[in-house]
């Protein structure tokens, strides 16, 4: 019998994950020993921990280390995405405390769960083995199911948690089945090995097992990034989940889904690009159109942003269809700016809504523009960025994505994209109409802005504006990040 060979393990690539996991467990312990109602300090510790992790991740920029015999990798691609996840988590932690106090569900488990989600997402970004990616996805998803249903006293939150869990479990099945078939077709789960095995096949596009595997994996990820027609869970879950978690879900896990999808399609299956890009073309058009058209009719602002987030996944898919340097770098840039603008917008929603998740309609923004001018200006910036108006980050992001598509000759896709973008302007404008052009229907106390929320808003406004005016440095990071894949 052969000895089981123990590979040389270099821990460097997963240091941030280890650090965050340990921190999360320490927080869980601390939580047990701290009296209920005094959990705010956990938020501060998590924020500091996330910032420290960001430093740790940032230090790995430029490195290229494979470890666990090719199951995880430290490269710029992973680093860029990890930064997005940390950013999303950091902003979420900042806006969570005030909300959770108000909703009387400030349980200390929240922060460790957010950190575990980040660990899962990080593994998805750095995983170069289908199993690692799956592991990351499950760590992320299980934590998210709990987070979606975190407000135990609220029926809608419970519904969101359950719905997310059921549909998520279903999609995981698809994904795992796809991975199994891919393994069956290629004999390996390492993405780089899959690439070389598929590359040596005489006619990979005729290999039914491989194609089915690819299709099922894409379906699984389409669930996670909420691409139509696999988006049905999104509006209910986004509406029901506690608002900070909705913000987090729309930015972090979506980016993680794209990270894994990019890695699998572009690294493992580039030989099948013709096939998957055709499929994604249809998916992108459907996602953009369904998202935008349905968003037009929404009165509940969380639902509206849920559909808008579907549409945004569609724009990002346009970049993936292109599959070239510009398109993929565009996805990275877009996911980063989307995290800023969307979490910012949700932060404002938290401030406008009242206890028990009431007051969450577009109409409830009436008069905000003159009652709370600074908040309204911030919201205006987020909405214009979401709508893709220059000079915001959202504009540069779309510019980048659509440039990628035009470069590869997908002109009709780009045309459909910009027409969608024009239609989407309507529902973003509608919020502004209420903020600035209508009088409030009733007088009520606006929630005070606490220091962490203010910090989150400042970061989000800066992140939505600065990359729109001087995008070069982030663009260069994004371009370097996709160079290797």
């Amino acid at each position: 019998m052969d000895m089981i060979s123990i590979p040389v393990v270099n821990m460097t690539p997963i240091l941030p994950e280890i650090f965050l996991s340990v921190l999360a467990m320490v927080l869980l312990l601390l939580n047990v020993f701290s009296p209920s109602g005094k959990k705010s300090y956990l938020a501060y510790i998590s924020f500091i921990g996330i910032a420290a992790t960001a430093v740790l991740v940032g230090a790995g920029w430029g490195g290229h280390i494979e470890s666990f015999s090719g199951a995880v990798i430290l490269d710029n691609f992973a680093t860029f995405f990890k930064m997005i996840f940390l950013l999303a988590a950091g902003l979420t932690v900042l806006i969570s405390d005030q909300y959770m106090e108000r909703e009387e569900c400030n349980h200390g488990e929240l922060y460790p769960l957010i950190l575990f989600t980040v660990v899962g997402m990080m593994l998805m970004a750095s995983g170069t083995d289908l199993m690692t990616i799956f592991l990351g996805l499950e760590v992320m998803s299980v934590s998210l199911y709990v987070l979606a249903g975190f407000n135990r006293n609220n029926k809608k939150s419970n519904e969101a948690g359950l719905k997310y869990f059921l549909l998520g479990a279903f999609s995981t099945g698809f994904l795992l089945y796809g991975m199994a078939l891919t393994y069956g077709a290629t004999g390996t789960t390492r993405v780089y090995k899959i690439a070389s095995v598929v590359g040596q096949m005489t006619l990979p596009s005729a290999n039914i097992m491989l194609l089915a595997g690819m299709l099922l994996m894409m379906t699984g990820f389409a669930f996670k990034i909420a691409a139509a027609p696999f988006h049905m869970w999104t509006p209910d879950v986004y509406e029901g989940a506690p608002t900070p978690m909705t913000a987090f879900m729309s930015a972090g896990p979506k980016a993680a889904g794209f990270a894994a999808l990019l890695r699998i399609l572009l690294v493992a299956l580039p030989t099948l690009q013709i096939e998957w890009s055709q499929l994604l073309w249809v998916l992108a058009v459907l996602t953009m159109t369904v998202g935008n058209i349905t968003a037009l009719r929404q009165d509940n602002i969380k639902r509206m942003l849920a559909y808008s987030s579907i549409a945004h996944a569609g724009y990002a898919l346009v970049g993936l269809v292109a599959g070239n340097g510009t398109g993929t770098a565009g996805i990275l840039f877009y996911m980063l700016s989307y995290a800023f603008m969307n979490i910012g917008a949700f932060a404002i929603i938290i401030l406008v809504s009242k206890k028990g998740e009431t007051n969450g309609n577009v109409m409830d923004f009436a008069g905000l523009g003159f009652k709370r001018p600074l908040l309204a200006v911030a919201m205006t910036i987020f909405l214009f960025s979401l709508a893709g108006m220059p000079p915001t980050a959202g504009f540069i992001g779309k510019f980048y994505l659509f440039s990628g598509a035009v470069q590869k000759g997908y002109i009709w896709l780009a045309v459909i994209g910009v027409l969608n973008s024009a239609a989407s302007v309507y529902y973003y404008l509608r919020v502004m109409v209420y903020m600035y052009m209508k009088e409030p229907t009733e007088e009520f106390e606006w929630t005070q802005v606490t220091a962490p929320v203010a910090l989150a808003l400042i970061i989000s406004v800066a992140g939505s504006m600065i990359p729109g005016i001087v995008p070069s440095f982030i663009l260069e990071f994004a371009q370097q990040a996709v160079k290797l894949i």
């Binding site: 780009a414 052009m437 663009l475």
Partner: protein, 499 residues
Amino acid sequence: MHVLTEYPILTILIFLPLAGCLLLLPVWNCRVSARPIALGVALLELALSVWLYVSRQDLPGVQTKLPGYLLSQDAPWIPSFGIRYTLGLDGISLLMVMLTAFTFCMALLVSWNSIKEKTGLFLTLMLTMEAGIMGVFLALDLALFYLFWEVMLIPMFFMIGIWGHGRKIYSTIKFFLFTMFGSLLMLLAIIFLHLLHAQQTGLATFGLHDLLKTQLPADTQLWLFAAFFLAFAIKFPLFPLHTWLPDAHTDAPTAGSVVLAGLLLKTGSYGLIRFGYPLFPQAAQALTPLFYTLALISIIYASLVAFAQEDMKRLIAYSSIGHMGYVAIGIAAWQPVALSGSILQMASHGVTTGALFCLVGMLDERAHTREIAAFGGLWGNIPKYSFFFLLFSLASLGLPGLNNFVGEFLVLTGTMKKSPLVAALAFVGIVLTLIYTVRLVQEVLFQKERQPLPLADLSLREICILAAFAAVAVWMGIHPAPLLDLVHAPVQLLTGGGL
């Protein structure tokens, strides 16, 4: 070296209003001190642009990359895309810059008392819009142009929505969506052109003067031109894309209408002259019959509809569509005389229609209605007002000696050389303009008195505004030579000098 070339004067033109916004912040809620600051900034802009005009002969000109330009500026902005911050000023831009600076002074003055609420925000939006419009008239990098093109929309959206009347929200959203729809397709065309150029030469650029050298196959050119044309035709506006205009103009506050008619419409024609035609000459040639047809329909249709209007502001809005139709015909002819006429007509229309919107606004402030049927016999009642009303109405219908005549005359003369039929049909439009304008004047100024309340005649501020408009109108009508001279060189360059 001239003192103007030592400073980045074009950048100052764009960013001075934005700096003015910062000055407004400390006095945000103090209407009395905010208004003079904003007006001061606008006057400074006007002074700068007039200074540019006066000293244009002394400017050395830009020798290297941009022939025919008086001043230019160039700096990298987003190097990874090849987007540059390129500004250039030639005679056409200078005329438009002067018109912009002038119109904003007037718009600020006319809203001096009528904007009573949220003045800080109003003035900030006005100045931001001035910056955006200046940028549109100065940008020579297509991506930069697009940026300003979109930026100028946002303040107008809020202006109509917050201070407008009637169905203001419907109108402002309609205005915004129409414009966005066209401009996004133009953005795609810009990207496509950029990529094609990069493919051909290896140079990633959005600079107009590099992109002019791109080799374009005929059908590609047609598609790209169509996208540009759509964006600009919506702004013009040409039939059948004009439906946003009557709503937006009618429901906007007076200052908003003045800026809309005076400047935003001009960005469409300017874009066509600066970018559309030079970039895609063959496609433009091929689409000339369509352009002629749409312009003629605009003229005749808008004039007929104007005749049927009961609301004065709506009538003037429709007359704008008609007048812009002449601008369109002049551009479509793409011939030096007609093009000079178009450019002059752009400025003239800005002045005349701006003044007419001011006049209607003043009447509305007094009587709280704009219905034609509500007025009559103003001539005996408020003579100063009526004098200006008559003057600008006459200017609008193209009385020789006043500004509009020169532009329309040149457009028709030039067009006559290229396509007599079009010119002949356009003459019909002039007659129609005459009919509805005379009806307006006759009903409102003469007839017997109908207004229920005694109206106050013009205040000193209002007289100053209208006198300024009148001075410009008369000057342009009697002595247009300096302005024609100003646009002569760029027009020759654009049309290739052939007559």
